[in-house]
Symmetry: C2
Subunit: 341 residues, 2 copies
């Protein structure tokens, strides 16, 4: 566990190569076109949706344990996620970096390598980048626009009671990865000769540091004429996501605890740290899962054709609230935590 800025042997100040040259160099690595604005051509028959995020050092990430490359990758996914959730395919990406003097060219290249990986993976056609000074720390601002084919938005049904609530993978792992990193950071601060104990927890660490975004479900939906009635990108726990979704549609929800997928390392770490795994699932952050509500009539086709999707509950009538049902039948009210609501 080292400060990532100390890993590179060469440390070139941004002033040495110049801001515009740096931007050109980075954009050439990712096939970028515009430094000032991004553009969507051929927008006929498409609905455009835009997503915009601001990530701040010390709040949204900690450079003690977020490697810059992973951070760049994850930052890009954080704006692609809400677009996929809305049934859109991301078409472009604009990144603005605010960097204090402690960051050098090699750091920015490292961060950009992660962004570029996400760009390639998600077939982003147009990319823009700007780099500016900040007084302290790093700020990453991202904006992405996605296209939704007209045939999707005209066929999107209204969310109704009975719609299935589905997620693209297990929950709580990223939160447990973060808890592990925090624990090892504290131990390292007390005794810097002690190496972090991360073995056996690769999966939850990866879930936090470099999550995957399973956007392939969107093509499966299209192939099978499945039109979700709603969608949300889970970044601050399942509870907050379901509450936001219910708030939008003015409906309630019931989730079934035994249906919610949880990885074995999540359970193991929860036990080791004496945390309820359910807390990680409901209120942990950074899961980067897509949650969709889908008409009940599609139940069979979903189970057969989209096996990577887990059905974890359903929508309920207006005014019934948002609940988690445990295997013994007791009901726990879903609450979002702290500053997030």
């Amino acid at each position: 566990m080292k400060h990532p800025e100390k890993q590179n042997s060469k440390r070139t100040p941004v002033e040495e190569i110049g801001r515009i040259n740096l931007i050109d160099k980075l954009l050439s690595l990712s096939g970028g076109l515009f430094a000032e604005s991004v553009e969507i051509k051929e927008s006929e028959n498409f609905h455009i949706i835009s997503c915009h995020k601001l990530l701040l050092e010390g709040i949204d990430f900690n450079l003690i344990y977020n490697p810059l490359k992973h951070l760049g990758y994850k930052s890009a996914l954080s704006v692609f996620g809400p677009l996929y959730a809305a049934g859109c395919v991301p078409a472009n990406l604009s990144v603005n970096l605010g960097l204090s003097g402690r960051f050098c060219v090699e750091d920015i290249e490292e961060l950009w390598a992660g962004v570029a990986a996400a760009i390639t993976e998600h077939n982003i056609g147009s990319v823009s980048l700007d780099v500016q000074s900040s007084v302290t720390g790093m700020a990453i601002s991202l904006s992405s626009q996605g296209k939704q084919p007209k045939e999707i938005f005209v066929q999107t049904p209204k969310a109704v009671s009975g719609d299935l609530i589905c997620v693209t993978g297990n929950l709580g792992a990223a939160y447990m990865g973060l808890q592990l990193l925090e624990r090892e950071k504290l131990l390292f601060e007390k005794n810097s000769t002690q190496q972090p104990q991360l073995k056996g927890y690769e999966y939850i660490l990866k879930s936090y540091l470099s999550p995957e975004l399973n956007s392939s479900v969107l093509s499966l939906f299209r192939e099978n004429s499945v039109f979700p009635s709603g969608g949300i990108f889970i970044t601050d726990g399942l509870a907050g996501a379901v509450r936001r979704l219910c708030r939008k549609s003015s409906l309630g929800a019931r989730l079934y605890l035994e249906k919610i997928p949880v990885a074995s390392q999540t359970f193991k770490m929860a036990e080791e740290l004496n945390i309820e795994a359910t807390t990680a699932v409901l209120n942990g952050g950074d899961d980067f899962r897509l949650l969709y509500t889908i008409p009940l009539s599609k139940h069979e086709i979903l189970s057969k054709e989209v096996p990577s999707l887990d059905i974890i509950g359903h929508l309920t009538p207006e005014g019934t609230g948002c609940w988690l049902i445990t295997p013994d039948g007791s009901q726990i009210g879903l609450k979002a935590q702290g500053w997030s609501e």
Copy 2:
């Protein structure tokens, strides 16, 4: 000259009313629709262009002299400007605020009042807002998407040597306003009983603190079938803007000093501070003017129908460089300053 946060008598912590409630309250003031994403409907026959900015306290603004309401207004214009320059009409706006604990609800309301004024003035249809914590200071991230009618982008000519270079108003005033504020701040820091001397400089102060964006030229262009071959939003001086433009089109440029409009207060302040007014024009920031290149054939119609536009020079062949010609015929090479290039 007071810290704006100290101006309000009531200071409500964000936690007291809650983040989501605050966002709802602010969005209801500006007719906002989505808290997570912004959407462009009816995108048929439109080209979508996106603009994205990150403004950081201590770098892009200073709360000692940037009143929050003006800051909000100006921040919104900073993303609308590049869209108008690209021949687009802004359609939506997304704002993400990062705020340290020193900002209260009343501060955010003040800032938002300025954003809301810009939204109303520029007929923005869809607005989103997010508010999050920051470790120190204020970060304002903005993203706006604009529509360009198809008839414009199919008729946009290629920039060629001979195209006229035109600006929507006088230059250098905002820079001089900032110099005045900086001078008064220094005096105030030495002696806090001394009130700032700002009288007689209202125009340059307003140019810096709350600039106007003259987007009405776009409708005049359309009415008169004028299709600019290029456009740029001047925010860091005329020199940098013209160089960026020439870089894009691979052409050179000649500007004529006596053709560049400069306000009398700009000259007066420049004299008082012993600065060349030309420096303010070429390298001063925050002018918020639109610069267009327009085919020479439109010279007559521009002079007659778009009198608010000043023709200050023309494009020249590739490889000829960017020059400012003084009344005595000497040539000064245009250079962008410092961190900006």
